[in-house]
């Protein structure tokens, strides 16, 4: 089919746009924005058409590959999982690019901005349609690089430069773990396959998956515990995902990452960066399913992150910071959704990706709305805002729609509800099932508590920003159409996408690992991993079904009372005198603990000490060698008199000695 042969163009077009915009953007109107927009639009259309084709026939995935070198290949794989991601990423990225034309209108460095975002999108698209782990890793690193460049877009600001560095270094911790995982995996595969196989690509996903039973049987001894190699590999992969997707404890870069332009935050938080970690876990889900204990770790880390970030979200005063913590929290939900695969198997990928896509819509919308407010009003601080709804009605309406989606407002048992409602409730219900089935109730508790806090912080943001009286003097006007139209489109998606696609979406994704590329018996893999899957899902009690929406409404109520009616004066409670508030406001002293104590104190201290050691030990050896050499040279240079006669005399003496020697030897012999 002709369309399949165009699949490789999906990442190539934005990459080309990067080159063109980077070198020729200055000569084009509005910084050459039209090139990335057109190329991403083309990528979106190709992705959409392939997805539609795949919807009709989910067995026939697009899979092409060419040899690269040795056992590696470059390839394209578009199965349901990749198709959904591709379409979402290119669509959201397209809208953000269109919006950015208005948002970045006054920035002199537009060509650089559009070139970098275009490369960012290209890297993410390449990551999604990789059919082998190495290609995925290369794109993964490229995504990291672009995030560094874009977070530090305004690099003249020291805080932006620092945030970029922090993001790069923090995700690097995860990247190193991911790379270690790949190395362990490759060594094991080479051992199992007995060398590089002829004509096969060992690191292609279908090959990797076919070795899962043997990998699972390999055992290593770690600290006296017998651990399956598969568990080690998957946990190292998860380490990479933790770094990229901002899970505890590597989430610290994400709140700082809003030093870049707001549109970049939207890209990072919604489409191109943080979802890569979730996608990695989903892509290698069969390995996680066959690895004992891995999914439990994923579920606990995800659940904890969801709650942990939400608690900080409720006290932040910076509008973008609230949204950043919200992203971390929602990513926690997605990881939790994957983790509960321990109980529900392949369905987990469905619900997690469903939340990922819905989240991309409403989170991009939230950031773009925040950007719209910042663009018009010129401040991030919610304490200085208030009453913005009067000057920016479209932004206010669309942001409220996004807030409803984030809080997950809807009616259980029907298909009425916002996008976030269907996906988040599915995750929370699965977490309940997981708790009921395996006795791990903690993730469920985390997810319910986080749902309450989510609702509180997002409506706090809405009320503080859009209602009441202005708390400072700001001018302000509604944003231009190039900004409001993407907002409106995203708002429609945030409201209705989940409701329209809820059943079809998950069924589609459950087909990911049974097609002409890979065909896996996930039930058998779950047995290898020691997970008991729920065979027949009994209906949850009605109370459980209604609990998420109930806590969301309670959260809304709390925010309404506190920040709209202002019925209770928060005075002392919401100040640094309240130790809990202070703890949250200072973000659990993470800066002090992670950055100042751990990174600067311990890591930097140890490195500085080692450097000192190297100086003293190694350098002294090197220096003594050089001192001896120089001294010997000083002493021996006297031999070179520079007088020809001396040399001649030495030569004659040498030759004479040689002749005598030869004579003597021949006499003796």
């Amino acid at each position: 089919m002709a369309l399949e042969n165009l699949a490789f163009l999906i990442p190539v077009l934005p990459a080309l746009a990067f080159v063109i915009t980077f070198f020729f953007g200055k000569k084009m109107p509005s910084g050459g924005a039209i090139i990335p927009i057109l190329s991403i639009a083309a990528s979106f259309i190709i992705s959409l058409l392939i997805t539609l084709g795949l919807l009709a026939n989910p067995e026939e995935v697009v899979s092409q590959s060419i040899p690269w070198f040795a056992m590696l290949n470059l390839g394209v794989l578009i199965d349901p999982l990749a198709a959904v991601m591709l379409t979402m990423v290119s669509f959201v990225s397209l809208l953000i690019h269109i919006y950015a034309v208005g948002y970045m209108a006054h920035d002199p460095a537009k060509p650089r901005y559009f070139a970098e975002t275009s490369l960012f999108t290209a890297a993410m698209l390449a990551l999604i349609l990789s059919d082998n782990i190495i290609q995925l890793f290369v794109s993964w690193e490229l995504v990291g690089l672009c995030s560094y460049l874009l977070i530090g877009f305004w690099f003249e600001k020291p805080s932006a430069a620092a945030a970029a560095k922090k993001a790069f270094l923090t995700t690097r911790v995860g990247d190193v773990m991911f790379l270690t995982g790949i190395i362990v995996l490759t060594t094991d595969l080479l051992k199992l396959a007995g060398g590089i196989p002829e004509g096969g690509y060992l690191l292609r996903f279908n090959e990797i998956f076919s070795y899962i039973p043997q990998l699972s049987a390999l055992e290593a001894n770690l600290f006296g515990l017998k651990v399956s190699h598969l568990t080690i590999i998957t946990l190292l992969f998860f380490g990479g995902a933790v770094g990229k997707s901002g899970q505890f404890p590597l989430h610290v870069w994400l709140p700082d990452a809003m030093e870049g332009p707001t549109t970049v935050s939207a890209l990072i938080h919604a489409a191109t960066m943080v979802t890569a970690g979730v996608y990695l876990v989903a892509r290698t889900f069969p390995m996680f399913l066959a690895a004992p204990d891995s999914l439990l770790v994923v579920a606990y880390v995800g659940g904890f992150t969801a709650l942990f970030a939400a608690t900080m979200g409720i006290v932040m005063n910076d509008i973008k910071r609230v949204l950043a913590f919200s992203t971390i929290s929602q990513l926690g939900y997605m990881m939790l959704g994957l983790g509960v695969g321990a109980a529900i198997g392949m369905e987990a990928v469905g619900i997690s990706l469903f939340h990922l896509v819905n989240h991309a819509f409403f989170k991009a919308l939230l950031f773009l709305c925040a950007g719209s407010v910042i663009h018009a009003v010129g401040t991030h601080d919610m304490r200085e805002l208030g009453g913005v709804a009067k000057v920016m009605p479209i932004t206010a309406i669309t942001m409220t729609a996004a807030a409803l989606a984030l809080a997950g407002i809807g009616i259980p048992g029907t298909s009425i509800g916002t996008s976030g409602f269907f996906s988040k409730d599915a995750i929370i219900e699965s977490a309940y099932l997981f708790g009921e089935h395996s006795g791990n109730w903690l993730p469920y508790g985390f997810s319910i508590a986080a749902a309450l806090l989510t609702s509180v912080y997002i409506f706090r943001l809405i009320f503080m920003t859009f209602t009441g009286k202005p708390r400072s003097n700001y001018g302000g006007h509604e944003s231009p159409a190039s900004m409001t139209v993407p907002l409106a489109i995203l708002a429609v998606f945030a409201l209705v996408f989940g409701g329209l696609t809820q059943t079809g979406f998950m069924q589609f994704l459950e087909e990911t690992f049974s097609n002409n590329f890979v065909n896996l018996d996930l039930g058998r893999l779950a047995v290898l991993g020691g997970y008991e899957l729920v065979q027949s899902a009994s209906a949850e009690p009605t109370f459980i079904l209604w609990l998420p929406i109930l806590v969301a409404l309670i959260g809304f109520g709390i925010s309404f009372v506190l920040y709209y009616l202002k019925a209770v004066d928060l005075g002392v409670l919401a100040s640094e005198k309240n130790p809990i508030y202070k703890l949250l406001y200072r973000r659990y002293y993470q800066h002090e603990i992670f950055t100042e104590f751990f990174s600067i104190g311990i890591v930097y201290g140890v490195v500085a000490f080692l450097a000192q050691l190297v100086d003293v030990l190694i350098d002294s050896i090197v220096e003594s060698i050089s001192i001896v050499t120089v001294a010997a040279g000083e002493a021996l240079k006297r031999l070179q008199t520079g007088v020809v006669q001396t040399y001649a005399a030495v030569v004659v003496a040498g030759v004479s000695l040689l002749i005598i020697l030869i004579k003597l030897i021949t006499e003796v012999l």
Partner: protein, 100 residues
């Protein structure tokens, strides 16, 4: 017929004179003259052996050697001319710029 050892003796004498001259004299011109002497002692050897063994090889080598000596003398004198233009004399003891 003069015995071969006479030729070899003369050749060794000439060579020793040349070698002594190289090691003893400071002047560049004398140096080259001494080198010529040593080369010619070798030529004498070659010709003597050639005559003694009744072949022509040695004489051909001697011709080569004379041509080589001429070339060497030409280059050597050219270098010394250049040095003379700078220093007004050719004293090998004082040509030690690259010593240390």
């Amino acid at each position: 017929m003069i015995p071969l050892s006479f030729y070899l003796g003369l050749s060794a004498l000439l060579f020793s004179i040349g070698l002594f001259g190289i090691m003893y004299h400071k002047s560049g011109i004398r140096l080259i003259m001494c080198i010529e002497l040593m080369l010619n002692s070798a030529n004498l050897n070659l010709v003597a052996f050639s005559s003694y063994t009744d072949t022509l090889d040695g004489q051909v080598f001697a011709l080569f050697s004379i041509a080589l000596a001429a070339a060497e003398a030409a280059i050597g004198f050219a270098i010394f001319m250049a040095i003379y233009k700078m220093h007004e004399k050719i004293n090998l003891d004082e040509l030690n710029l690259l010593r240390w």
